[in-house]
Structure formats: structure tokens, C-alpha cells
């Protein structure tokens, strides 16, 4: 090796290749770019709008105080406003909704993809889409007029049997309508189609070869689902849950109707009371400029949280495609 003198040759450089795209491709390229870009622009405009219009209230209250104060009083001087009471209610309602909707949605998706006949499958897919198309106002009215009273015995039963869990306890003779639990149930029904569709989409893409492999080994259908479909769809379940959580956090009309919209940090989710950011904004939007500015600040907080949840969801959903870990 060393004895030989290497012949000096110029280092190889890759050739620069330039393709001249056709006119139609250039135009289409530009159109799609600006369409995609406009989404970003709109998002920034909304964010900026919220930021500038909440300047008044945030400046007067201070960001940290605003984030950590529970009460919301504009009838005193100076006004004492904070978002914590609203935020707690928002998160509690959304979490109840998702906890109730995820198991039902995932099982419904499994039934649609792996158990139902082809004809029933088409009908069910249509019905789930229909459920998603019902205006949230109708859910709210239905919950307010009918479900709220119907749920009282359920709340009572839960409190009687699981009252030893601190947040499920109720004081005697308290009103059990208009609770965060009932709001959570209604919002849960509203986000059910989101979870079902996303989970169904992912489950239906489970590799047919592996499903056949499991069945040909003498597996039950449940064993096949546990071995192939669920591990493959894990990312879809998590992603659908996050999307549903994003929707549940922002849900407005139903909770505006169902909850009294009085900000407080209550640990009794079965009792009357509770408020959410979006519901509170909807019911108080006709106030004086300072109140509106405060509502904008609350909206900004919700905007950031929802954006974060959805971004996490999209990361999880996109990651789920490339074969996640399987355990038997």
C-alpha cells in the first residue's frame, strides 16, 4: 500500500443537476405553497390579535397573578381577574370526557373494523360521521333539558359507592345537576366520533398478512387483535385521544349551557358548579372593555394549550406509522 504512489486525481464532485419544471407544475407549486402558508398566517394573526387585545387586562393584573388567581370579579375596584378557576374546570371536563370516550371509541372502532359484516360496517361508519355532524348546541340543549336530571341518580350512585375517592364525594342535600361530571359526559359523547374515526382509520390499516398469520396459528380473533391490530394502532389511539382532548378543551356551547360558569376550584366533580374558559367567554362576552380584554387573555391561554395538545397529537399520529413496539 505505502510503497505505491497514489495517482493524483481531482476529487470527485457530484454534478449539479437542475430540472426545469413544467409551467403547470410551477403554478401548482405556488398555489399549494400559498394555501399552506395562509394557514400559518391566519394562525399567527389570531394569536397576535389575542395577545394585543388582552394587553390591557394582563398589564394591569400581571401575567403570573392572572394565571394563578381563581376568582374573577369585575365589580370591585381594581378588578380582580384570574384564569385558574376556569382552567381547572376546562381541564377537568375535558379529562372526564376523554376518559369516558376513549374506551368506548376504541371498542367501537374495533367492532367496525374487525367484527362487523361489510354491510353493517358501511352503516356504522356513516352513523359515526353523522354523530360528528350534530351541532354542539343540540348536545348542549339535550344535556341541559334531559340528561342533567337523568344523570342525578347515576351521580348519586357513584358518590355512594366511590365516595371514598376524594373528588367523587358529595355533601348531603347538594344539587347534583349542572356538575362538571355531567358536562364531561356530554362533551365525551361529542368527542366520541373523533376517537372512533381516528382509531378506525389506523386499525383498518393493520397489515392483513400479519392478521392472517395470527389466525392461521390457531389464534382467536381477540388474540389476533391483541397481537397485531392493537399494537399497530397504539399510536392512532393516543393521537385520536389527543385530538379529542383538544376538541374537548375548546368545547363551548354545551358547557356554557350545562355549567353555572362561576369560576372556582372545586374538588367535587359530581356537585353543581364549575366553569370552563370557552363557556365563560361565551356567557360574559357582552361586558365592558376591561372584561372583554380579560376574556381575550383567558382565550389566549386556551389557544396556547389547545395548540400544544394538537401539535403533540400530530407528532404521535405521524410517529405511529412506522411500526411501534409489539408485545404479546
Amino acid at each position: 500500500m505505502d510503497a505505491e504512489t497514489p495517482v493524483a486525481s481531482p476529487p470527485r464532485r457530484p454534478r449539479v443537476v437542475v430540472d426545469e419544471p413544467a409551467r403547470v407544475d410551477r403554478v401548482f407549486d405556488a398555489v399549494t405553497f400559498w394555501s399552506g402558508f395562509s394557514v400559518l398566517v391566519l394562525l399567527s394573526i389570531v394569536g397576535l390579535f389575542l395577545l394585543t387585545s388582552s394587553g390591557d387586562s394582563l398589564g394591569q393584573t400581571g401575567l403570573w397573578t392572572f394565571l394563578t388567581r381563581v376568582e374573577w370579579r369585575t365589580d370591585v375596584q381594581p378588578a380582580r381577574i384570574g384564569v385558574l378557576g376556569l382552567l381547572v374546570g376546562t381541564v377537568v371536563v375535558a379529562v372526564i370526557a376523554v376518559v369516558l370516550a376513549v374506551p368506548v371509541g376504541v371498542l367501537a372502532a374495533l367492532f367496525i373494523t374487525d367484527y362487523s359484516s361489510a354491510r353493517l360496517r358501511r352503516v356504522l361508519i356513516g352513523l359515526v360521521d353523522l354523530l360528528a355532524a350534530i351541532p354542539s348546541l343540540l348536545f348542549g340543549v339535550w344535556g341541559f333539558v334531559l340528561l342533567s336530571n337523568q344523570m342525578v341518580p347515576v351521580s348519586r350512585w357513584i358518590s355512594d359507592h366511590f365516595g371514598w375517592i376524594p373528588f367523587l364525594a358529595t355533601e348531603p342535600n347538594r344539587d347534583l345537576t349542572g356538575s362538571m361530571f355531567i358536562a364531561g359526559v356530554v362533551v365525551g359523547i361529542m368527542v366520541l366520533p373523533i376517537i372512533t374515526s381516528v382509531a378506525r382509520e389506523v386499525f383498518s390499516q393493520a397489515p392483513p398478512g400479519e392478521k392472517e398469520a395470527a389466525l392461521a396459528l390457531g389464534s382467536t380473533r381477540w388474540g389476533m387483535i391483541r397481537t397485531v391490530v392493537l399494537p399497530y394502532g397504539k399510536g392512532g389511539i393516543v393521537g385520536g385521544t389527543m385530538l379529542a382532548l383538544g376538541r374537548a378543551l375548546g368545547e363551548t356551547i354545551a358547557v356554557a349551557l350545562l355549567l353555572p360558569q362561576v369560576p372556582l376550584v372545586s374538588k367535587n366533580i359530581l356537585e353543581y358548579g364549575g366553569a370552563t374558559v370557552s363557556g365563560f367567554i361565551a356567557t360574559h362576552s357582552g361586558g365592558d372593555p376591561f372584561t372583554v380584554s380579560g376574556l381575550m387573555a383567558a382565550g389566549l391561554v386556551l389557544f396556547i394549550i389547545t395548540l400544544g395538545t394538537n401539535m403533540m397529537a400530530s407528532v404521535v399520529v405521524s410517529r405511529s406509522r412506522s411500526g411501534v413496539g409489539v408485545e404479546l
Binding site: A213, G218, G323
Partner: protein, 287 residues
């Protein structure tokens, strides 16, 4: 024994003994190879009859090759044998499939029990990609609820029988999806063998593989003979000639369902078949 068998025995002479003692399973299929016989088997997809009145005995411990042009119902027939056909929406069937003399479609018999006794290797290798090689081999046990006290022994033996042990012994915990196509197919064979089936169905197991992997799998088939009844669908005439004892020629005439034109020992089928169409097919004049 025919001369073909002797030739095959010589080419696979490395195998120590034809019937190694298998690792004990609890709740698995009864031991040994089993004969499987179709009687008047018909198959439909929706309203379309794709397979008509197939009578075929596949003797225990021997290799039967199903040959014929594409679309003649070979794969459908294979899937009829282990009750995979009924999983296709709109699929229907008639006739009987006797495993050790008992109809697999008898009322009250579970498809799972049948499929545990009749293993299947598919055209496209389909190991569970994110599962380790070891767990892939053991997956059939868990899925069919069979117990084994010597799992390490079973993993080694199954991979050994499938001719894969030497290549993967040091990386049993790596995912099955990381293997090459030929290795994946042998992993699938090992996975099927781990539950000790009485019959092994192979649906064009080498069609997606290169010649070296194909030869390796053919050697594996040679080594498994006598331990398990093998039914293999193949489009490769040389392969059918190399690996099988018996041959059945399937053919679907235009707008007709598939039928068995002729079946006999492989030697006869490739030298002096009764039907002119069989001769034309095995000599490569059509199909």
C-alpha cells in the same frame, strides 16, 4: 422407495435423523403427521364457483405439490384445508375435508383447533415485524394457548427444523422484521412448526425469494418430510419435481371453475401423465 426419494435423501444428507424427538407441549395437537383428504370440495366467492368437486388424498408424512396456472383455485383449495377460506367475506364452501378421518368442518368443531393442527406458510413472509425472533417462534403457543416448560429448547428446535438456527442463534432478541426475506420465510416456517402441527400448508413459499433462499427452503421441506404432512402450492415445475412425492394438477378452463385434472405420484405426473393437458403444462407448453 423410488429413485427420486434416494436422490433427495442424498442432496439433504446433512440432516442427522429423520425424526428428532420433539420438545414436549401441553395442550398442543396430537403427535405425528396426519393424512388430509378433500372429498367433493367446492368453493365460492359470492356467486362465483371457483373450485368444483375436488377429491384429493394427501397422505400422511409425504409432500404433495399442487400445480397449475394462476387462477385455477390452488390457493383457494389450500385455504379450504385449514379453514382460512371462510374468513374471506362472501366466501362459501361445500364438501368435506378429513383430517385423520374427521371432518374439519364438522358442526361444533372450532376453526382454531383445526388451524393449530394444520399450520400455514404464506406467499409473502409475514413474521410479526416488531416482535423478537424468539417471540415470533413462540407466538403460536401464546395465541393457541399451548404450554411448554422448555421454551428455550423449543425455540432452538423449531429454528433448527426450519434451517435458521445457525444464522440467528446469537440474535434471538432482535426483531423478526430485521431479517432478510428468505430468513423471514424460514422464521415463519419455524413459527408454524413450534406448535407441532400435523400438516403444514405452504402457499408458494418461495415465489418472493431469491434462488439461494429457495434452495434453503426446499432443503428444509426435505428435512421435514415424514415428521409432518406437507402440501405445497408452487408455480415452479422444477421445485414440484424436486420436493414432492405426489402431485395434483389444477386447471380452470375459460369461464369454468377450477378442477383437479389429474393426480398421481410426482414421477408419473412428470413422465407419463394420463391427460394431455397435464403433459403440456409440466413441459411448459402453457400456463
Amino acid at each position: 422407495m423410488t429413485t427420486i426419494t434416494v436422490d433427495r435423501a442424498r442432496s439433504n444428507g446433512t440432516h442427522p435423523s429423520p425424526t428428532p424427538r420433539l420438545v414436549e407441549l401441553i395442550g398442543g395437537p396430537p403427535p405425528g403427521a396426519a393424512a388430509i383428504e378433500a372429498r367433493g370440495a367446492c368453493a365460492w366467492f359470492g356467486d362465483r364457483l371457483v373450485l368444483e368437486s375436488v377429491d384429493l388424498l394427501m397422505p400422511a408424512g409425504q409432500v404433495t405439490a399442487l400445480i397449475g396456472p394462476s387462477g385455477c383455485g390452488k390457493s383457494t383449495f389450500l385455504r379450504l384445508l385449514n379453514r382460512m377460506h371462510e374468513l374471506v367475506p362472501g366466501a362459501a364452501l361445500d364438501g368435506e375435508v378429513l383430517l385423520d378421518g374427521e371432518d374439519v368442518y364438522r358442526h361444533g368443531r372450532r376453526a382454531q383447533e383445526v388451524r393449530t393442527r394444520i399450520g400455514m406458510v404464506f406467499q409473502k413472509p409475514n413474521p410479526f415485524p416488531a416482535m423478537s425472533i424468539r417471540d415470533n417462534v413462540l407466538s403460536g403457543l401464546k395465541l393457541a394457548q399451548i404450554k411448554c416448560h422448555d421454551k428455550d429448547g423449543l425455540v432452538e428446535q423449531s429454528l433448527e427444523r426450519a434451517g435458521l438456527w445457525k444464522e440467528v442463534r446469537d440474535r434471538l432478541h432482535q426483531p423478526g422484521g430485521a431479517l432478510s426475506g428468505g430468513q423471514q420465510q424460514r422464521l415463519c416456517i419455524a413459527r408454524s412448526l413450534a406448535v407441532h402441527p400435523n400438516v403444514l400448508l405452504m402457499d408458494e413459499p418461495c415465489s418472493a425469494l431469491d434462488p439461494t433462499s429457495t434452495r434453503r427452503i426446499e432443503e428444509t421441506i426435505g428435512e421435514l418430510r415424514h415428521q409432518v404432512t406437507i402440501v405445497i402450492v408452487t408455480h415452479n415445475m422444477q421445485q414440484a419435481q424436486r420436493v414432492s412425492d405426489h402431485c395434483a394438477f389444477f386447471l380452470a378452463e375459460e369461464n369454468e371453475p377450477g378442477r383437479v385434472i389429474e393426480h398421481a405420484t410426482t414421477t408419473k405426473m412428470f413422465s407419463t401423465p394420463d391427460d394431455r393437458r397435464t403433459l403440456n403444462y409440466v413441459e411448459g407448453r402453457f400456463g
